[in-house]
Symmetry: C2
Subunit: 238 residues, 2 copies
Amino acid sequence: MTSTRKSNAGTPRPRRRTTTGRTRRSVVASAEPQRPDRRKDILLSAEALFAERGYAAVSVRDIAARAGVPVALVGYYFGRKQELFDTVFEHRRAYIAERIERIRAVDCSPTNHNAVEELVRAWAEPVIRLRASDSGEAFSLLVARTAWDPGPEATGIIERFYDPLALAFVDAMAEALPGCPRARILWGYEYALGSLLMYVADKRVERLSGGELASADPALCDDFVRFVGAGFRAFCSA
Amino acid sequence: MTSTRKSNAGTPRPRRRTTTGRTRRSVVASAEPQRPDRRKDILLSAEALFAERGYAAVSVRDIAARAGVPVALVGYYFGRKQELFDTVFEHRRAYIAERIERIRAVDCSPTNHNAVEELVRAWAEPVIRLRASDSGEAFSLLVARTAWDPGPEATGIIERFYDPLALAFVDAMAEALPGCPRARILWGYEYALGSLLMYVADKRVERLSGGELASADPALCDDFVRFVGAGFRAFCSA
DNA sequence: TGGCCTATTGTACGATCGTACAAAAAAGCA
DNA sequence: TGCTTTTTTGTACGATCGTACAATAGGCCA
């Protein structure tokens, strides 16, 4: 895997273009052959492959081959492999921001008796819908894969992009469950996250059910909210 | 990573010794230098490294180096890398059998009103205790790492060694929660498993709590059982 | 002592990895 | 048209990968 540990350290970073160069030929009548945006091709190819196999198990050559471009073009646009990985998450930054906003929008005052379930739904539903969409399926899988990945590239991503989300959830839940020790809520978040990642990334129910059940059915969102919500309530009323 | 996809296919398998050769010199007074059991060294080294980084991110040379042994000796005792991986799980087969037995020992008849929690405990407690022990910490981490690993070597292990455990749990829970659709129990198992793996393998609470909370504290087992048990009850009483 | 089997070692092969680099092609602009 | 800049390409380097193999060392019994 080469992972990242020692090889090729200290070499100069390559030049790269962060935007897609000059103005795209913006003729009004745009029914032309439409020169392909190969930078986007590479980005989507990387997203899909990282989601399938995880960071270390994907080679730059795999990414280039799937995008239908020569290897060197990957380095030209994105520099090193790790920078490409980071860029994939930068590119989906809006998805993360949306989840934080939805969490912050929940009324967690003592008057709201459904605050716990509303919070779990605000946190989980965007991911579950994303998983069921065409354009977001790969990224939602990638998030699970990255959360589970023990490598330094993956944990760095989680720390930078998802720790703020976790803390926003924990803060809100602490408000919704006053008197409950923060340590418990923190562990509750970990359990809930483990469940959500299984919901989104699991490929096992299909096998265990003998092919009867499908993976990541978005209709199960209500059930999921009930499961995790009940856990938090029981967890914090001891 | 080289993962496993195509390289070196069809090559003849090497000879190997499955047992540690001739009789260990069984002198009664065994205070001698004690010739080291290098096969066991390799096995434990592999277990620890696979648990830390996952199958693909560990090289045979890493394993040999940690065991203090030349590379070729790994192949001599265990053959290919994948066979070594399998052997690590074979070596811990008793741990898996113990969990199944504990699940089967739970009284799931309608007269037992604590069946759900007893079942969750029977299923989770052995892992949580193993995680806290010196001799089992690495393997309990390895199980989580393997359950999360999308590679074919890992999914093969889960299928062979852990699908029977999952089905035993689901069957027992179906008996404890009569009238609850099996599909829900199956998904509940996935959520519970996701939570347990987080409990056992998580390294994030320490960071999120600012260093106040420790990872995988076995004292939290009761809390875990309450969390997951409540989920199953709420999940199946809709 | 010599023969036999096991254990151990160093080394080498082919493949794949991430990355760099120079040269060619294409596009934009005067 | 020429000139500059961006995009594209083929290729090569050094490192690391899994694995094989011949040679050596060591224990045990006749």
